[in-house]
Symmetry: C2
Subunit: 198 residues, 2 copies
Amino acid sequence: MTTPRRDTYTPETLLGVAVQIFNERGYDGTSMEHLSKAAGISKSSIYHHVSGKEELLRRAVSRALDALFAILDEPGAQRGRTIEQVEHVTRRTVEVLMAELPYVTLLLRVRGNTQTERWAMERRREFDHRVADLLKAAAADGDLRADVDPKLATRLLFGMVNSLVEWYRPHPGTGHDENQVAEAVVRLAFDGLRADAS
Amino acid sequence: MTTPRRDTYTPETLLGVAVQIFNERGYDGTSMEHLSKAAGISKSSIYHHVSGKEELLRRAVSRALDALFAILDEPGAQRGRTIEQVEHVTRRTVEVLMAELPYVTLLLRVRGNTQTERWAMERRREFDHRVADLLKAAAADGDLRADVDPKLATRLLFGMVNSLVEWYRPHPGTGHDENQVAEAVVRLAFDGLRADAS
């Protein structure tokens, strides 16, 4: 238990504390009491900023979702051959995941017990479907290998990308910088691990 | 609560019930009471078969680990070029994951709160290291693309493979059969999604 301190939080900085506790304890396992202790301010101070923990969850997953959906509006996701668009979206998704690691981690772990959780899952599926549609279009262009079903490819691609929340840490010592990781995902996913026969 | 029934379990069939409950509630969240209710037999009947829930965990994760380590002793994992060995191990790991889905799911979700859990995590890391060593050897042969670090490649490969426990279900309606999934993982990982320019 920390000594209560003067409330200098903004909704934004309070969110940083909340998302950390949600990820540690799970959203279901987090009470306003836990948030109050972690922030070092009273529950009523928290209610001064937000209506409750569900609002904190909504703000946190919105931050992740907004960053992900913004990728789809970038020029690289709208111009050129579709396969290049998918490659762009893949690279940028990895970059957003690393830049917004606690927020995307929370988004990926959410289960559907409350309305906000179900909304977050629905939006996440919508993002996956948008990428699946791009892969289907790339297949129609003849730019995707014909022996892998685009829907299955989407699952495997997101499986690989999303696994980063399990091991990527933005600290020295992991031995991988952000550009290296994003580039490795794109190279593996689109060109494969095997050296080109030449 | 089910009506207590005559105990016709063997340690093997009891394991099937236990692994299901462990995956539903988490190992920490499962009591002997939960196991007794799910199996429809008394706690003392369970103790007739096993020493307690930790023995059930050890047997369950051993089943997954034994199946995974057995892959490394197969001829396909020991003969031919190293890159072909890695491809074999990848395909067979996907097949084992699908064939032993609840057991591998439990193995991948285990956290280190008890000695058995820590042992399971250690063995799992050992398997990952064995595959990482194969990838390093394939890189030394010049068969792995030079612009992806073999250690990072191992993480991404397992990220993709292990993500199957989140969505693969061995029932009709998922739209993917086992051979198709294993082949798709190998094609994506080694040759990439992009159609070969020709």
